[in-house]
Symmetry: C2
Subunit: 395 residues, 2 copies
């Protein structure tokens, strides 16, 4: 071939590479400036806007103004992000430092060709393709290191579409340290958030709604889990990985996003705690008040602020009901509230609380108090999760 | 550039073109001959095989011998198929006659570039790519027409990996006619199946486990739904489409596949009926005995066979408990069973049955009996769903 021909071949190939690459990049549809309820096959929002006509949601379009931070883009977090994307959320901020592996293919969302890619980048790429109307921001780092934690705090405080605080933080992580980091950030920032978790034997999970000062934080009490009736001592042997199922993770992600939608779009009743036991299809609910002696100073500050707000409100009927809080004699100094005596009486399957609701147990025994010199760093304890999980009780 | 460099650049680009092209077509991993529990990042089954080590499932590999028929590959059926694929099911048979539309993008699974493709073909393509170990069979037709119904029956009877009956049929359809067709086929074939459904206002759903002769069929009683506390009369106006949410559909698919896994792999307790009310996170369970006067002759035949099997079994303690069935005075001639008095007492949130369990209501009023000359055709009534749905009660 002449030099001319070689160069022409290169141009041709470069074009083809560009075309093939763009196939994977350009969205399959144009952006949509305004959500419409028009009932046509080409409208990706018709079945969502129908929620207005059905009297479920008053102002569905408002979802476009909301920003959600998803911490952990694994089995629960990735499906959570996909559900919010398909619902047309305004902005998603994704945090994770892991890579996609073939070993993740037993859960929904990631596909085998993404093995080796960063989870946040692979997720944002797929999600942008599914819904080009959503804004994505990704952070490929571990939030528990000191520098990253500061940046994480900053993004929660200023990451929304209007550079204000995000509307809600969703913890979809799989370890104790990351949960405590989210807890600490949200207490300090007075940021409402949701926790989620799936047991290591894959057959139970839960979500929890945390409002600083109003509900127990993760320093007030360890996370509650649904008892799995399985001896947890079998879990922690050498070379053993946690089990997981796409079903349990899909259900937990669904429960999480459903409650986020109820919170953001103001319909139905947000559950403070919703558990899931897959073996017997049991879904306990409950609510837990904060510990007045919580180790987290920001939590105690938020509790004082909440008490002040309550005191300045005119006394209503619901204030009287507040007295019905069950003060349990326990090591945690926390009080449990039967949701049926709460401000919004549940008409559902809310468990009667006597101590903990039936089938709910504490995930960890009370950890050894952290040294106070750690006040400016995230409290990390490499061994605590293992130690504490080992003590998880079955009912 | 020298000729050498130009040629090297061409080779490089050709490699890239090959790589990009292969990304979209060939599976991202080789088939795996035998499931292994080895804990390495490259093993897509490690987290599933861990269910054995955790004492949840005795023989996880057995999943590869099972065949599941999924009827309807929409919001629930597509996620159901993906979950089973990721769990490593042996074979999936998919039935649907619909095309993917952008209006489906508010649920999980399908992506915008698939708009216009047949749902079964688009689904099988994606699923084969996710897990090349699964065998797929697709049927792009409406099962309720006479010819297709015969073929559908034949595939249920002979579609398994060993050309025998499938292990379970999952109804994930969105209309009354298709549900009745699945019911009729399963009664005649003595085929155990699951029904699933999501309400038109998107905030409730259910699954139901049907064993011909042992539990009520769809001709014994109309499908049970979870009361949504929404006036259903708003739903059926002109130009109005049903609302749907990826959350509700993901949760219903998760509840369905979780119970299928419990059924196939023999762990936990399969729920006869599990409902979901998203507004208050309420999940009722119950069980319903068949109607001795059921219009479906095959149902009555299966009831007689079941009674005979029971009678020939040695009398055990559980036989006595059978007497505790609550015989309700109702138009349906059906009896409701409190699951806590059933053979496997539930330790969970099973509702106390008094009539129907709290929050559960019948989806339809009793339809007008069909003409008997329809014995060899599927009973289709175009107007019945609308008429009957309009009468759905709120609690």
């Amino acid at each position: 071939m002449s030099e001319e021909e070689l160069k022409s071949r290169i141009l041709e190939l470069e074009e083809e590479v560009k075309r093939l690459r763009s196939n994977n990049v350009t969205p399959a549809r144009e952006k949509i400036a305004q959500m419409s309820g028009e009932v046509v096959d080409s409208n990706p929002y018709s079945r969502l806007m129908a929620l207005k006509r059905m009297g479920i949601v008053e102002d569905y379009e408002k979802i476009r103004t909301h920003t959600v931070a998803v911490v952990g883009v694994g089995g629960v977090g990735s499906v959570t992000a996909e559900m919010l994307t398909r619902c047309g959320i305004g902005k998603l901020i994704l945090f994770d430092y892991d890579k996609v592996e073939l070993a993740n293919m037993n859960r929904l969302f990631f596909q085998p060709h993404q093995a080796g890619l960063s989870k946040v980048e692979a997720a944002a790429h797929t999600l942008q393709f599914i819904n080009p109307d959503v804004t994505f921001e990704t952070h490929n780092y571990n939030i528990t290191t000191v520098d990253n934690f500061d940046h994480f705090m900053e993004r929660i405080r200023c990451g929304s579409l209007t550079s204000g605080p995000v509307d809600i933080v969703l913890s979809c992580v799989d370890n104790y340290e990351a949960r405590m980091a989210v807890n600490r950030a949200c207490n300090e920032l007075d940021q409402t958030w949701f926790e989620s978790g799936v047991s290591e034997n894959a057959v139970s999970g839960h979500i929890q709604y945390l409002i600083p000062g109003e509900t127990a934080c993760f320093d007030c009490a360890p996370p509650l889990v649904v008892a799995s009736q399985i001896d947890e001592r079998t879990l922690k042997r050498e070379g053993v990985c946690a089990a997981s199922l796409p079903t349990t993770m899909g259900i937990v992600a669904g429960m999480l996003v459903q409650n986020v939608l109820k919170y953001l779009l103001k319909f139905g009743q947000v559950s403070y705690y919703l558990g899931y036991n897959a073996l017997v299809d049991f879904f306990p609910t409950m609510m837990m008040r904060p510990n007045p002696h919580c180790d987290d100073t920001w939590c105690r500050k938020r509790q004082a602020e909440y008490a002040e707000r309550k005191a300045s409100q005119p006394v209503e009927k619901k204030e009287e009901k507040e007295e019905e809080v069950v003060h349990e004699d326990n090591d945690w100094g926390i009080s449990l509230v039967d949701e049926t005596s709460g401000e919004e009486p549940s008409t559902g399957a809310t468990a009667q609380v006597a101590g903990l609701a039936e089938g709910i147990t504490l995930a960890y025994e009370r950890p050894v108090p952290a040294n106070d010199d750690s006040a400016d760093t995230v409290q990390v304890d490499d061994t605590s999760l293992d130690d504490l999980m080992a003590q998880m009780k079955s009912i």
